[in-house]
């Protein structure tokens, strides 16, 4: 069969063509709703790993069979998925988290945080992570501890991981 550019750009509206369009629309909707949720990063709490304004996809199937692990960057939902928080898991259930002069201690041991670029002067008294919770913090700790949103959250709130 011979196709020319006109047929490609302005195809005849046939039943088969409409069916294909419908299939593509359904697949796109399902893919971007239930598998990869598109989002734009607003804010500076994960810099320099993730910069303000970047586009990304939240892969929602990541934690179907496994639980989040330390150092995973995760997407945390609020009431729904229109606004999600991007944070890094630093401690798991049962761990004791503490920050001394900007150094993060988990179970009284300093953990390796190669992703940090900015120093901080944060101090946080020891606290235990509850069952079915994880402790998350952003990579940018150069801001005041009062301004930065971090802490423990239920793993049920984790919707997935950024795809890149």
């Amino acid at each position: 069969m011979k196709y020319n550019i006109k047929d490609f750009l302005f195809p005849k509206i046939t039943k088969q063509y409409l069916f294909r369009i419908l299939l593509v629309a359904i697949f796109t909707f399902l893919f971007f709703s239930f598998i990869c949720l598109p989002f734009r990063i607003k804010g500076y709490s994960m810099e320099p790993t993730y910069m303000n304004g970047q586009l990304n996809l939240c892969f929602k199937l990541r934690y179907i069979f496994v639980k989040p692990e330390r150092y995973n960057v995760v997407c945390i939902r609020l009431a729904g998925e229109k606004v999600i928080l991007l944070k890094r898991v630093v401690a798991l259930e049962g761990d004791v988290v503490e920050i001394k002069n900007g150094t993060l201690l988990v179970n009284e041991k300093k953990i390796d945080e190669t992703y940090l670029r900015y120093s901080s002067d944060w101090n946080l008294s020891p606290r235990k992570v509850d069952k079915n919770n994880v402790y998350v913090i952003g990579d940018n700790r150069s801001v005041s501890i009062d301004v930065h949103k971090f802490g423990q959250t239920s793993i049920n709130r984790i919707v997935g991981v950024p795809l890149w």
Binding site: L78, A79, G80, L85, K87, L124, Q152, T153
Partner: protein, 166 residues
């Protein structure tokens, strides 16, 4: 044969009917959402807003609450009733710190546990420019309790959910 003119008239009547149904027979969910849209509109601030408009907006917000209006914020160990006067002062004070505010509510989950009572779970999003020019953004999950009075849904209680507990 049906004339094109008749088809057009039928189409216009159909569209007008749909609009009328949506306007006059709004579902209770739509009415609740509309109240939140109204609140967001009154919180928002345009640059160079004058003080009369600011006072009027704060006043309109307080008209949408039922006293005693309870506010719960576990992150700040806060749980108390506030009067409409206190709320008005608080709104005025907070808004005055910003040169510009964009406010929106998302992800509504609305339940009606009993007649004339609604429970709403939602996300509130605020982006603002502080008076020195610094850009600020904040998001909170909220659980709200509303009561219907004189055919208007009014806020009875707001709880700010602690999604991340330090």
């Amino acid at each position: 044969m049906v004339k094109a003119k008749h088809l057009i008239v039928a189409g216009v009547v159909l569209i007008a009917g749909i609009i009328a149904v949506f306007t006059f027979f709004q579902s209770e969910e739509a009415k609740v959402k509309k109240q939140f849209e109204f609140i967001a509109e009154k919180i928002e601030k345009e640059p160079n807003e004058n003080s009369i408009i600011a006072a009027a907006k704060a006043n309109r917000i307080t008209e949408l609450i039922i006293e005693p209006f309870k506010i719960i914020a576990p992150a700040y160990s806060l749980s108390r009733d506030i009067s409409s006067g206190e709320l008005s002062t608080f709104v005025l004070l907070k808004r005055s710190q910003y040169a510009e505010i964009f406010f929106e509510f998302y992800d509504f989950s609305i339940e009606f546990p009993e007649k004339d009572t609604a429970r709403v779970n939602l996300t509130a999003s605020m982006e603002g420019k502080l008076n020195p020019g610094e850009f600020v953004q904040d998001f909170h999950e909220m659980r709200c309790k509303l009561q219907k009075m004189e055919d208007t849904w009014r806020l009875k209680e707001i709880e700010i959910v602690e999604v991340l507990r330090k």
